[in-house]
Symmetry: C2
Subunit: 205 residues, 2 copies
């Protein structure tokens, strides 16, 4: 197994976290997305959409899209429930993550970390606030009555949402008003085999 | 089975199209999203994210997110391949659809159909052009060598991408430069049990 990844990416972290839980060995190939390394001819041959993470399996098949990779790796393990409705609800939360959460919270975080501060950047950041807090609100209302997102236990839905929620502050989002989300973050970080996003840092890095 | 839907929604059409292929009877409950009917307390109890489509199964379980609903309905049918890597590739295309295609092409279409023409709307539409054409380019390069998106046959990945691609012109996108995409649109519309997006209209409506 080979993982093409950029270490500051929450989408990549999802895959690294699940691989750690499953104790699957893999070769990490770092891709400097800021230097255009995910847009080279060689990379686009693996993923024409030019995004990390991508995995290459031992029989040389490539797979892109972080949440599709999570599903692929989790099938048949404890991280994906068996009942059909629960599997679908895991997917429901993962599609929610990519459509209603990531474009606001992760994008804001990326701009704050990697894009020069300008009036235009501030305007864009402001335009992301409402959607990001709406997504956190949806999570808060669900987690007020549930320890985990689906089926009362830790699944890849939690991994998918944890990745950027636990660093939401780095995107300018304040979790003070989201106590159920913060308690859930603690439950995720307490799972056996948990690893932080960046090597050598704590769970808040 | 009950489907909460807005008939002009491509996300809803995905579900209606698969239900037609599977010949599953259902009760359609129309939700006027323009009148705020997807934000009522009753609706938010089904989907706190306030979006259609939502299905309610015969045993009263609700499920949201169009592509999660497709996966739920397709499990065990010909519309979702069995091999693990193919299932994951179906998901890869469905996550691509929600992250890299829908926010550009479907959003532009919604604005053009339902939002007053202003300078601001024109600016927003222009900002969606590059991303939308990039998504069509990814599809074009893949479909140049493949009849369908995954495993050489019609799956829910095709249904998910067909929904807004076949009405891309309504979002201001010109498919003239995408001949492989246009041929694929024809193959989808020729599938047994195919239904158009809006009742009583052709496949281009």
């Amino acid at each position: 197994m080979r993982l093409y990844d950029y270490l500051d990416s929450g989408n990549g972290y999802k895959v690294r976290l699940l691989l750690a839980h499953l104790a699957i060995p893999y070769e990490l190939v770092e891709v400097d997305i800021l230097a255009g390394e995910s847009r080279t001819e060689q990379f686009l041959a693996m993923n024409p959409n030019g995004r990390i993470p991508v995995i290459e399996t031992d029989d040389c098949r490539t797979l892109a899209e972080s949440n599709a990779i999570l599903f692929y790796l989790a099938e048949g393990t404890n991280y994906l429930p068996e009942p059909r409705i629960d599997r679908a609800r895991v997917l429901q939360w993962m599609f929610f993550e990519q459509y209603s959460h990531e474009p606001y919270i992760a994008t804001s975080r990326f701009w704050l970390r990697h894009v020069e501060a300008t009036t235009e950047r501030e305007r864009l950041l402001e335009s992301k606030k409402e959607g990001g807090y709406a997504a956190l609100g949806v999570m808060e209302s669900h987690l007020a009555d549930a320890d985990f997102l689906v089926a009362g236990r830790y699944t890849i839905a939690d991994i998918a949402l944890y990745a950027y929620t636990h660093v939401a502050d780095q995107g300018g989002f304040d979790l003070d008003g989201y106590p159920a989300v913060r308690r859930w973050l603690g439950r995720v970080a307490a799972q056996p085999g948990f690893i932080p996003m960046l090597p050598g840092r704590g769970s808040e890095s």
